[in-house]
């Protein structure tokens, strides 16, 4: 076996700010084998980017040693950088330079000139399919094309090690698949690849996985055996008309159940141990089902991650409590004064143009009271624009966008009192404490006096933030930040809740906890509209609208969407399969330009 391309020996890295010291990498030891795809997997804040920068020689460890291609990054960063290709987040492209000019810059930096450069350019353009866009400015490329150009720039001089920092963030699923096949070709040619990702489903495609959480390495090795340990513990059953909003919390409380996940019309279960026949029938009887309804399912990487996180000795401190321990008695005024029997959200022939560009092109859908409705689509598809029009932040060019029967642009104050909004990056005041943030948002919604004190006390209790009331929100772990953001958004007990990419980047436990709360609120009659580009999040929705290039290309429950794309080759397509199928059909019908 050849020498490893990367060796990490008890690597520790911390960052000091004014008073605090944050440990980003905590004593990580690992190796990365040559000629394989190694996935660096973990939620946001796990330390993936720091580790990648340590490997690229952009940071020096405070303790331990990082060796890349046989060189120590502390002394020979220059040598390492001459032999690796690196694509940072957001791809490191000059948006005001064209495809060709970006490539030429990186080629010159790697001392490639003349005909050799021309040849390499042609070759990489063919390889990535960017050929027709040679003179287009990088800023005007789609997310997927930017990603391919970033990759081409990292491959200018064929690297021995290719380091990709979250290459699939903000990229549509079609481009994501293309990127995978490009990278797999590279590996066949002998390149070693380090691929960091927060998407757990990508881990399964890697040869090896380094699983990180909060600066610690939880697991190293091929992903297969990791989930294989859970064999016999994962099951699925069909909901068949049962109310998932009540069944999920009950299952979470069950002693045998480690994890519950809604998947379309079914429920995915991870049990604490491999059950015997009496235990399975016991479990099913409690739900009023037959033991025969429970079907074994192969464990997935995410199950393995959950299992690892829930092991008490591995599980780092300051993690959020398991969702099962947090029953959520949210006392919502079920009936908002404006609520009617008709749809709560009503969108008809909605159009928004920016110059000649139709960002939203004739979209229409309804959302009923207590429904969780998801807008799914790649970045730039028009989700956020639709969202902004519904929130009254942007005037539509044409058509209707009504919430509770009101055009938010015209009767803003009246309607906004019934709407909660949680922005993508949690719009919290970082230098204010938890209780100061809550107080501010309560005041902003016009709550005062006793009502305000009562709501703040309720929120601290409901979201288990009481002990942290005086902590600055910047210092909260990500999961708590998210809870606080949600608490702030529902300070005024809104009847409608808008969530913009609510859980991208958080770990699966935090995501489950979040959705448990949202489900409870929906059961209480709150209407929820979510945007996401994240298939997993889409599974939580009652109904989905798929938006692509400003158009609503499909509408239905997750199960309907999947079943419409069931083929002989793919008897049980995932939501992502369905999505890709939809987009490809759309592109074909439109005779779309090469992606």
């Amino acid at each position: 076996m050849t020498a490893p391309v990367v060796t990490l020996a008890s690597v520790t890295k911390y960052f000091r700010s004014k008073q605090r010291q944050v440990t980003a990498i905590d004593g990580v030891s690992a190796t990365m084998a040559a000629g394989r795809i190694t996935g660096l997997v973990g939620p946001d804040g796990a330390g993936k980017t720091t580790l990648i920068r340590l490997i690229a020689g952009l940071l020096r460890p405070n303790a331990g040693k990082v060796e890349v291609l046989g060189f120590d990054t502390a002394h020979a960063a220059q040598k390492i950088q001459a032999s690796i290709g690196y694509m940072p987040q957001r791809f490191g492209l000059y948006e005001d330079l064209s495809v060709f000019e970006n490539f030429t810059l990186y080629a010159r930096l790697r001392a490639l000139r003349g005909t050799a450069r021309e040849a390499r350019f042609t070759e990489l353009m063919d390889f990535t399919g960017l050929g027709p866009f040679r003179d287009r400015l990088a800023g005007q490329l789609s997310g997927g094309m930017k990603q391919k150009l970033g990759l081409a720039c990292a491959l200018v001089h064929p690297p021995r090690l290719l380091v990709l920092d979250e290459p699939s963030v903000g990229v549509d699923p079609v481009s994501r698949r293309e990127l995978w096949s490009i990278v797999e070709t590279l590996v066949d040619d002998g390149v070693s690849v380090l691929w960091s990702t927060a998407y757990l489903d990508e881990a399964e495609r890697c040869h090896d996985v380094l699983l990180m959480n909060e600066g610690k390495l939880l697991h190293a090795g091929p992903p297969g055996p990791m989930s294989a340990d859970l064999a016999g513990r994962t099951y699925t059953f069909a909901l068949a008309g049962m109310d998932k909003r009540t069944i999920i919390p009950r299952l979470r409380q069950h002693p045998y159940v480690m994890d519950v996940l809604i998947k379309g019309g079914g429920v995915h279960l991870l049990l604490t141990h491999e059950p015997n026949d009496t235990q399975t029938s016991e479990l099913m009887e409690e739900l009023g089902l037959d033991a025969g309804d429970l079907h074994p399912e192969p464990p997935r990487f995410e199950d393995a991650f959950i299992a690892l996180l829930k092991e008490p000795d591995v599980r780092p401190l300051a993690q959020s409590p398991a969702p099962a321990d947090a029953p959520i008695p949210l006392h919502h005024h079920t009936a908002s004064t404006l609520a009617r029997t008709g749809p709560v959200i009503q969108v008809e022939h909605l159009v928004r143009r920016f110059g000649p560009f139709r960002a939203v092109d004739d979209i229409g859908f309804f959302v009923a009271r207590g429904e969780i409705f998801g807008l799914l689509g790649p970045n730039g598809a028009g989700k956020s624009t639709t969202f902004k029009m519904l929130c009254g932040l942007l005037p539509p060019t044409d058509g209707k966008a009504l919430v509770l029967g009101i055009d938010l642009r015209k009767a803003a104050a009246a309607a906004r009192a019934h709407i909660g909004y949680m922005a993508q990056r949690f719009s919290l005041y970082a230098d204010m404490s938890v209780s100061e943030n809550l107080t501010f948002f309560a005041s902003a919604y016009g709550l005062g006096g006793n009502a305000r004190s009562r709501r703040i006390a309720d929120a601290l209790e409901e979201f288990a933030l009481g002990d942290l009331a005086q902590v600055k929100s910047a210092q909260l772990p990500l999961g708590y930040k998210q809870r606080l953001a949600l608490a702030c958004a529902i300070m005024h007990e809104p009847g409608v809740l808008f969530l913009d990419e609510p859980t991208s980047g958080v770990d699966p436990l935090v995501r489950r906890e979040f959705w448990t709360r949202i489900n409870t609120m929906a059961a209480d009659g709150v209407t929820v509209l979510v945007t996401t580009h994240f298939m997993e999040e889409a599974e939580y929705c009652d109904r989905l609208g798929i938006i692509y290039e400003g158009k609503l290309v499909a509408l239905g429950t997750p199960d309907q969407l999947k079943s419409e794309h069931r083929t002989r080759e793919q008897p049980s397509p995932s939501l992502e399969d369905a999505f890709i199928e939809l987009i490809q059909t759309y592109d074909r019908e439109k005779g779309h330009e090469a992606r």
Binding site: Q78, G92, D96, L97, R120, D189
Partner: protein, 388 residues
């Protein structure tokens, strides 16, 4: 050759050839970005021209046509003679007012900037030993203008007195008169010293503000990170920024000089080579500051704020461009010594208005060279290929 094929000839050796190619690549990229970025064009070309037009045509520190109230308590041939003399001066716009109270009201309302009162005993006391009483009340809100007006009034009075005495064959009992000659700027046009000083402001804008912004932009957009993980060296990255913005700054200097001489008629009495030399030194100091700021501030917002506070405002206020350094408080005068623009403004004003004065040029050039070395040296030491 497959995309992942690693059999390319090894061109990684850091021979001088590939170093030159890397540097060329960086400079070329920067040039493309300057051309395409409207904000670079605005700071490098549009802003200088606006400043030039503003200072050339708009702002003037000269006091001309100052509205002046004239109160004559007892009209006589002598008082009308003086009033006529005053009215003929291009410095004043004389408004006759009936009495002192009206004049004070006019001054309070801002219609006039000063009051001249010729008392009722003006004619009688003209030849007395104590001299004729004329009272001048000047709006002192703007001390600078007040001093200028007061000087003009005194001058006008003395001139009139001399002429009057000569015309009437009286013995000259007027006080000692001072004859003034303005050197270097005989017309006392403020434009003549403002516009050369403006070159320092323009070069500070390009060298410090623009440079700090573009480096911060590379950090913000993540392109710096991608650059750092290539065989490129720190010196190449720094030179890749220095060279294009040096050229841009010298271009700004040329535009300003050409406009100064051909559009605004400012004299240029020194040597062009000396101008290029001292401008280059200042440009290096300004670029050094810009790059130093960008090693500390990695967001465009912070970089912009810092550049304005530590480079642009001092260049404007403390360089002697508008406000005379010699009349500043001692402590502030001391402070001006660490401001590169101060030396450059002094050198520019002497090159334009006085000629190539080597003793002025040399001392200022040495100061600029030291500052350029310090700023660039500290920047080089503080920059590394690590992200911290």
């Amino acid at each position: 050759m497959r995309p992942g094929d690693t059999s390319l000839p090894d061109t990684q050796k850091s021979s001088s050839g590939s170093a030159g190619l890397r540097l060329f690549g960086l400079v070329y990229k920067e040039a493309l970005q300057i051309i395409r970025d409207p904000s670079s064009i605005a700071i490098a070309f549009v802003l200088p021209i606006i400043l030039l037009l503003l200072f050339g045509y708009g702002v003037s520190l000269d006091a001309k046509h100052v509205p002046l109230g004239l109160v004559i308590e007892a009209p006589s041939p002598k008082t009308s003679d003086f009033a006529a003399a005053l009215s003929h001066s291009e410095y004043f716009n004389v408004i006759r007012l009936p009495d002192r109270n009206k004049a004070i009201t006019a001054m309070l309302s801002g219609r006039i900037n000063g009051i001249i009162v010729l008392r009722s005993d003006f004619a009688r006391k003209l030849y007395s030993a104590s001299g004729a009483p004329i009272q001048a009340i000047i709006n002192g809100t703007d001390a600078n203008t007040a001093r200028i007006i007061s000087g003009y009034v005194q001058g006008a009075w003395q001139t009139w007195l001399i002429h009057y005495n000569l015309d009437h064959g009286q013995s000259i009992t007027a006080p000692v008169s001072v004859e003034q000659r303005m050197w270097f700027n005989a017309d006392i046009r403020s434009r003549n010293f403002l516009i050369p000083g403006l070159i320092a402001i323009i070069m500070t804008l390009i060298g410090t503000l623009l440079t700090a912004l573009v480096v911060a932009r590379e950090w913000e957009r993540g392109t710096m990170e991608a650059l750092l993980v290539t065989p490129v060296r720190i010196d190449e990255i720094l030179l890749g920024k220095l060279i294009p913005y040096f050229v841009l700054g010298m271009g700004g200097m040329t535009i300003a000089t050409v406009m100064a001489v051909w559009v605004f008629g400012v004299p240029f009495r020194g040597s062009v080579l000396a101008l290029i030399g001292v401008s280059s030194l200042f440009m290096l100091a300004a670029l050094g500051m810009g790059l130093l700021i960008s090693t500390l501030a990695r967001s465009q917002f912070v970089a912009g704020q810092v550049a304005i506070i530590i480079a642009f405002l001092p260049a404007f206020i403390l360089s002697g461009f508008i406000f005379d350094i010699a009349s500043m408080p001692g402590l502030v005068q001391l402070l001006t010594h660490i401001i590169p623009a101060r030396y450059f403004v002094a050198a520019l004003q002497s090159l334009f208005l006085a000629g190539t004065l080597w003793q002025v040029l040399l001392s200022n050039s040495i100061a600029l060279a030291i500052m350029a070395l310090v700023f660039l040296g500290v920047t080089r030491m503080r920059t590394s290929k690590a992200l911290e």
